[in-house]
């Protein structure tokens, strides 16, 4: 946004850039690794932007996301070994007694492209048009956005309004599953014959940015979003527990889950509502000390799945003789979605003879559970000349799911992950 006059949020550029405008290129490679041989991801990314003329600027973004590893399928650890069918329905995998069932057929490469076009309308107002496209083997996302910003009070106050629309298509391996129907043994007809599906995501955001002093800037945003359409995770299941044994239902408690004759495994494909409305309040403050800079944000989120969350984020940039050190701390806490359930009970929730379920929605996805995430990070940045910078950061993420009162051994395990990222920026 380095348009013809110094706008409030302008990107400061080194002096030598003054004469000719060039591509400002930021490149990065991120390594993400979860403990217990869960997900491993490598993400190269490039972000490049340049002025087209005094009033227009273009930005392009390309991110590749290569994932391997295993992800929880939703079922809990049990005192007995558990056997599951892969999404394709062709084979089985087994989780030993006491182990959290992970689907290790999980692997994916995602390519995401985005572009923004900033246009100055006049000296105090501007509009940004954005587009994005991402593709992975079972998922495609296509989106467009527009943000209008206008400065008031000698550019000390800026109002923003943005609208974004996304259309996502999902084509899961084996087809979309029939909700709250059992996963079946290979060889039986799968409950996964559904067609591909889609959802639309609409987001609206208004915000105000205010300069408080030469050293302090604050921002306040309100966002409202709506998602309509297919929102299930087609690979996630919920265990049906036999309350007499505390183990996944078997033929002894239910004729329906007599796997040998019906093929039905005691795991039902999850079911979520088709609509989700959310509200977000976001506050940010940036303050410049004599040399150092502190960047703090707080977000309050709520939706009509009854998820509420608080996110605190703090970065402190400590300037050194050569480069800077930037510690980072993030704390996140959420409450469970109303239909999140540890499992479904035979008898109470599921009819032992017919398999009929007396609820419309159920998911045991840990991401909809009550949880806390703590992130600690450190970044070191080293300017290389006037137009270039090298930086490296490491972060440790630790997520704890609060299952509530559940039988010992069935707790959702903590998730520990590390991030290592290397950045290099230059003018081109």
């Amino acid at each position: 946004m380095s348009l013809a006059t110094c706008t409030l949020l302008q990107i400061a550029a080194p002096l030598a850039q003054a004469v000719d405008s060039e591509w400002e290129v930021e490149s990065a490679v991120l390594f993400y690794s979860e403990s217990d041989s869960r997900v491993l991801a490598i993400e190269p990314a490039v972000y490049a932007s340049r002025d087209i003329n005094d009033d227009e600027r273009i930005s392009l973004r390309l991110v590749v996301d290569a994932l391997t590893g295993a992800t929880p399928n939703g079922a809990h650890a049990s005192s007995v070994a558990q056997t599951f069918t892969t999404p394709s329905g062709r084979s089985s995998y087994t989780a030993a007694a006491g182990q959290t069932p992970l689907d290790d057929t999980f692997h994916d490469t995602r390519v995401a492209f985005g572009a923004d076009w900033d246009i100055a309308i006049d000296r105090v107002s501007r509009i940004t048009w954005g587009g994005n496209l991402s593709r992975e083997f079972d998922y495609t996302s296509l989106g467009a956005s527009a943000t209008y910003a206008r400065d008031y009070n000698d550019r000390n106050t800026t109002l923003n309004a943005g609208l974004a629309f996304n259309y996502d298509m999902i084509g899961p391996v084996g087809g979309t599953p029939s909700v709250l129907q059992p996963m079946v043994d290979p060889g039986f007809t799968l409950n996964r014959a559904g067609a591909d599906d889609n959802k639309t995501i609409t987001d609206f955001l208004i915000g105000v940015t205010q300069v408080i002093s030469r050293q302090t800037l604050i921002q306040f945003n309100y966002g409202f979003g709506q998602t309509d359409g297919y929102q299930n995770d087609p690979y996630k299941i919920v265990t049906v527990i036999d309350p007499l044994t505390g183990e996944p239902a078997t033929t002894s408690g239910s004729t329906f889950f007599d796997t040998a004759s019906t093929g039905n495994l005691p795991y039902l494909y999850e079911s979520r509502p088709e609509t989700r409305d959310r509200n977000v309040l976001y506050f940010k403050a940036v303050h410049h000390f004599d040399e150092d800079v502190i960047n703090f944000s707080y977000r309050y989120y709520e939706d009509d799945w009854d998820v509420t969350s608080h996110t605190f984020d703090l970065r402190y940039r400590y300037e050194m003789d050569e480069g800077y050190l930037q510690p980072h701390i993030r704390y996140y806490q959420q409450d469970a979605a109303s239909f999140y359930t540890h499992n479904l009970e035979l008898g109470t929730d599921v009819n032992p003879a017919s398999g009929a379920v007396n609820t419309t929605f159920a998911s045991n996805d840990y991401r909809l559970a009550k949880s806390e995430t703590v992130t600690l990070g450190l970044k070191y940045g080293l300017p290389l000349g006037k137009n270039s910078e090298f930086s490296i950061r490491g972060e440790v993420i630790s997520q704890t799911v609060n299952d509530g009162l559940v039988p010992s051994g069935e707790e959702t395990p903590d998730l520990d992950a590390i991030i290592l990222q290397v950045n290099y920026s230059l003018l081109w």
Partner: protein, 83 residues
């Protein structure tokens, strides 16, 4: 186990309050602020609201795939099948 997903009045009041805050802030802030030539610090990369574009983008993506919340900073950016 499941409570009806009615659109709660709590949501509406949050929205009304937020919008009122924005509208009030324009005149209320008119006495705050600095002169155009005092923007030297605000012009620095490190003083931008999002100083590290790619760090922020990657983080948003990671937390979107691990948590139930999203949004707040701006609109656009795109979806993924990770949640």
């Amino acid at each position: 186990m499941f409570r009806a997903c009615l659109y709660s009045t709590k949501n509406k009041s949050v929205r009304v309050m937020a919008i009122m805050f924005m509208l009030i802030s324009i005149p209320a802030c008119s006495s705050m602020g600095i002169q155009p030539w005092e923007r030297d610090l605000l012009a620095k990369d490190s003083m931008q609201l999002v100083p590290d574009y790619l760090d922020n983008f990657m983080d948003e993506h990671i937390y979107f795939s691990k948590e139930a919340s999203s949004g707040g900073q701006g609109v656009g950016g795109g979806g993924c099948g990770c949640n």
